[in-house]
């Protein structure tokens, strides 16, 4: 079952309806159904955690926390909240971002800085790494279709855990501009994907 994951998330991925059924069953305490949910989603959760927190051990910790949280909260999943994958990955993203911010706060204290240290100089390297890592052509194409400013906004928020205020500060732009840029970037991705799929 772990091997299926290794072969790629897509190969092991049940249809959304089936995954929803499994999640509902898991919510009623069905351990077998939960195992199937794990096998269908753990690679995405783990990959996202790894991408955000960088540290492999910490990424595994986050993955474990997220999957146990999915088990705990499974009975609260409802289809009108979105697809099961989106629901699970929303939990995962938040948990990974919380972890990265806690680490940042910790290192800030060590450095006796009142404000978060924000380094925007590694952008080019970051973009290269991201593009190498991305397996899904749809995502690659979508991100390539963003303006550089939009891409930068998504990189710093979605992948590095910046808040909108930190984004505004790092890029020296007004807060309202920062918020709008994040939203524009996501909407543009959505629109491109709707056209191409």
């Amino acid at each position: 079952m772990g091997d299926e994951d290794a072969a790629g998330a897509a190969a092991a991925r049940p249809a959304p309806d089936r995954l929803a059924g499994l999640l509902v069953a898991a919510g009623r305490g069905d351990a077998d159904a939960f195992e199937a949910v794990y096998d269908a989603t753990a690679a995405s959760v783990h990959g996202l955690a790894l991408r955000i927190v960088r540290d492999p051990e910490m990424a595994q910790d986050v993955t474990q926390e997220v999957m146990v949280e999915v088990w705990r909260q499974a009975a609260r999943y409802r289809p009108d909240l979105g697809s099961p994958r989106t629901w699970i990955l929303t939990i995962a993203h938040r948990r990974a971002v919380d972890r990265v911010r806690a680490e940042q706060a910790h290192s800030d204290r060590l450095q006796r800085h009142a404000r978060p240290e924000i380094d925007v100089h590694d952008q080019d390297a970051l973009v290269d790494t991201m593009f190498r890592q991305w397996q899904a052509t749809r995502v690659r194409a979508g991100l390539a279709g963003l303006t550089p400013l939009q891409r930068e906004a998504l990189e710093l928020t979605y992948y590095k855990g910046y808040t909108n205020a930190q984004l505004a500060q790092a890029l020296d732009i007004p807060l309202g501009t920062a918020k709008a840029r994040i939203r524009d970037a996501i909407i543009r991705l959505r629109d491109m994907w709707e056209v191409t799929t």
Partner: protein
């Protein structure tokens, strides 16, 4: 500067919000069909980004998760009574035993249960067993989710003021708030058309710089803005310290 809570939608979808902003948006969401509908689409996009990162975890992790799951109790379906651990951070915002706070007079019962159930159904509830926090959080949610609530930036770290005429209340909350001088605390003032200032609650930021305070039973008729000053402990009847933040309606 007017800054409606709707503006946080994109940032919220990718968790680019502080805990206080998240609490405000969580409270806003159940009452705003537009935001709820658009958020679902934005979250799908965010999930697609995550899917593209898939990396299989070690097989040993699977065993660890299944072992932990086997001894982990599940939450019942939504009853809005139990806080998912994920949302404790947001509830932490409410941890402020403020001297001189008058609890709101408006009755929370039925309305707040409905609001909270909606929030819980969406993203997990911002509640804890700690009753004081719960009460403050409920109050804040009631204000922030009022149909006429609007949010304005407050220049105290990363902070917002949320004002609702209908709830006759104003909430101030935020993070990274600097400490006032020794022996001093912050106080919120209501500025009237004639320039007079009515005393509001005093508040102190937590050690992590977060704070939350609320002024209820405050008609917005004739109110032109709000200011925050530093005052001696216990607050003042008239502002005596420098204005540290100013918000104009």
């Amino acid at each position: 500067m007017n800054d409606n809570v709707h503006g946080l939608l994109g940032a919220y979808a990718v968790d680019a919000v502080t805990d206080a902003e998240r609490a405000a948006f969580d409270a806003h969401l159940p009452g705003c069909e537009d935001c709820a509908a658009e958020l679902a689409g934005l979250r799908d996009v965010a999930a697609a980004l995550a899917d593209a990162e898939a990396v299989a975890p070690p097989a040993a992790l699977r065993a660890r998760v299944l072992e932990e799951v086997s001894r982990t109790a599940q939450l019942p379906p939504d009853d809005a009574e139990v806080a998912p651990a994920d949302d404790l951070a947001a509830a932490r915002e409410a941890r402020h035993a403020r001297s001189g706070h008058r609890w709101p007079r408006f009755v929370l019962a039925a309305a707040s249960v409905a609001v909270l159930a909606g929030v819980g159904a969406f993203a997990g509830v911002v509640l804890t067993e700690r009753n004081a926090e719960l009460a403050m959080e409920q109050d804040v949610m009631m204000v922030a989710s009022a149909p006429d609530a609007h949010s304005m930036d407050l220049d105290l770290g990363t902070s917002h003021l949320v004002v609702s005429d209908r709830m006759a209340s104003v909430v101030a909350m935020g993070e990274d708030c600097p400490k006032p001088h020794d022996g001093m605390e912050y106080q919120l003032w209501v500025v009237m058309e004639d320039g007079s200032k009515h005393a509001g609650p005093t508040f102190m930021p937590e050690s992590d710089g977060s704070f939350m305070t609320m002024l209820d039973d405050q008609s917005m008729d004739g109110v032109t803005g709000f200011v925050v000053t530093e005052e001696p402990m216990g607050g003042s009847d008239e502002p005596t310290g420098d204005m540290v933040a100013v918000v104009e309606l």
